[in-house]
Symmetry: C2
Subunit: 315 residues, 2 copies
């Protein structure tokens, strides 16, 4: 009996990762090309498509059913990348159409956080869940919201920007031009800033190690018992818990998944987040919503997420 295979493509500012994924989420091929080496998107599509085609031929009893694409500023409805600041390609790029034309198969595209959320639903910890929120704690805070088994895209495909909910109107300056956005506190960048602030206030000096720290370094310091590092996690969790409690008032999910570097700090981030979450929840929601670590592997999530855009329709 013929089985399906699905191609996944994750477009990043530096690299594009692509491959083949089977129905169980097993990655049968994974390759990388430099996005920056292709000033014209058509050329990247050509190179990636040829390699996908060739690889798929090795799986004789399988049919390539489609290609799912995760991309910054991805518009699901139009299949386009729109004015992505981290890509060299300018304007609106009809990337799904380009792949579909090349490979003669169905192509779907969405932004990276949404793709990862669908990956969690099809291959990760949200299997069987119909209502959940997926949060990526990376350089910024990305999110994907699933309601009744469907990704929330909104009228323009740009729903799910929880990282840009304003927590404090006069808070930290955000890269978006506004102040106090959630991601200025709850992200790798946010906790670095918190840690630096704590070091400066406690030691009355700029600690250069603090300023160049990454989330992993702060995690290591916390493991070693460093008070500033532990306090930085507590502060981050306090704000994240409040934001997630507020999020529940919108879509009342069964669970909230945390993904990304910061989520790898385990109890240091989950414990204060859960405590603040329960403290801030409206009573009707208390003690019934789980905050869970993503079950997707850090390195595979983007590719699995992209492929799951197609697997979601096949299953």
């Amino acid at each position: 009996m013929k089985q399906y295979l699905v191609a996944g493509v994750d477009i990043g500012g530096t690299n594009t990762v692509f491959g083949l994924v089977d129905k169980n989420g097993k990655i049968l091929l994974k390759e990388t090309v430099s996005t920056e080496h292709f000033p014209v998107p058509e050329d990247l599509v050509m190179v990636v498509s040829e390699r996908i085609k060739k690889a798929a031929l090795q799986f004789k009893d399988h049919e390539l059913a489609g290609v799912g694409i995760g991309a910054p500023n991805g518009n699901f409805f139009k299949g386009t990348i729109e004015f992505a600041p981290n890509l060299k390609w300018e304007g609106v790029i009809p990337l799904a159409q380009l792949f579909s034309d090349r490979l003669k198969i169905k192509a779907k595209l969405t932004n990276d956080a949404n793709a990862a959320a669908i990956g969690e639903m099809i291959f990760g910890g949200a299997k069987g869940m119909k209502d959940f929120i997926f949060i990526t704690l990376g350089t910024g805070l990305g999110s994907g919201i699933v309601v009744n088994g469907e990704m929330v895209y909104g009228h323009d495909s740009f729903a799910g920007e929880i990282g840009h909910v304003i927590m404090f109107p006069d808070g930290r300056q955000c890269g978006c031009g506004r102040k106090g956005c959630l991601e200025t506190y709850c992200s790798a960048t946010g906790i670095k800033r918190t840690f630096s602030d704590l070091q400066m206030s406690h030691h009355m000096k700029t600690d250069l190690r603090g300023l160049v720290a990454d989330a992993k370094y702060i995690h290591e310091k916390a493991l070693a018992g460093d008070k500033d590092a532990i306090e930085a996690f507590n502060y981050t969790g306090e704000i994240l818990g409040l934001a997630l409690a507020n999020s529940v008032a919108y879509t009342s999910p069964e669970a909230i998944f945390l993904f990304g570097g910061l989520a790898l700090a385990g109890d240091f981030i989950f414990k204060p987040t859960r405590t603040s979450f329960e403290n801030h929840l409206l009573h009707i929601y208390r003690n019934k919503i789980k905050i869970l670590p993503s079950q997707l592997k850090e390195n595979d999530a983007a590719l699995l997420g992209a492929a799951s855009l197609i697997w979601k329709e096949l299953k």
Copy 2:
């Protein structure tokens, strides 16, 4: 040709309004009974059902297709009212089942704000819209969120409690036991408190008229040029605009509808709300989301909303 009719029932703490609604949202019957006069819900269901049955017989070419019910603490999935603090009926009441058994027709139940939101979609200003948010500014702040043409219920049917998003963690005491909830600022109760606070701070005394004012009185004062009244609307709109801008980051709606007493104040509330909304929106959302007054008449909304639960499925 036989046409459909739908019954609507709105259960309130004091009164229950019920009636018959045709496919154009025309109300063919509207009656009221006192909810408090029925210590047992079965008796209310019996009385209301008999009157609905009798009235429906008058419309000979019409078939009664179902009954929609709006109720406080309504659980859509189970068709139940659950522990409603404003009703004398205790515990969990299977109201949809009771009506369905009596009338031998389909019965659907949801909370009043969700019902009104569906009413806006079927008979009001949201006709043809697939993504919108509906806000009722009454004693509290109720909300219904529609995504891709479907009401957001969440995993437990209790989604859409935007009135209980915490705006300021150390803010005003809310009836829910927490502090700083949106509805403590943006509701009839909220603006009354703001107006009283302004009067006390400006006149160094408690102005009794301020303390007993309702939203309509504050509107009249604003029309007469009263500075405290106008400032109260501006303050309310500033916070409401921020909350709505944050809401957009979740579901990216095409429009947000405001309903209820406070929304009747027109520009006094819409102007500061829209200004604050645009100021606080993430750039990708700017200048494309409408904040609109509900097109449902204040007195008909509850009945139309309840009936629209069934009309939504028939259309």
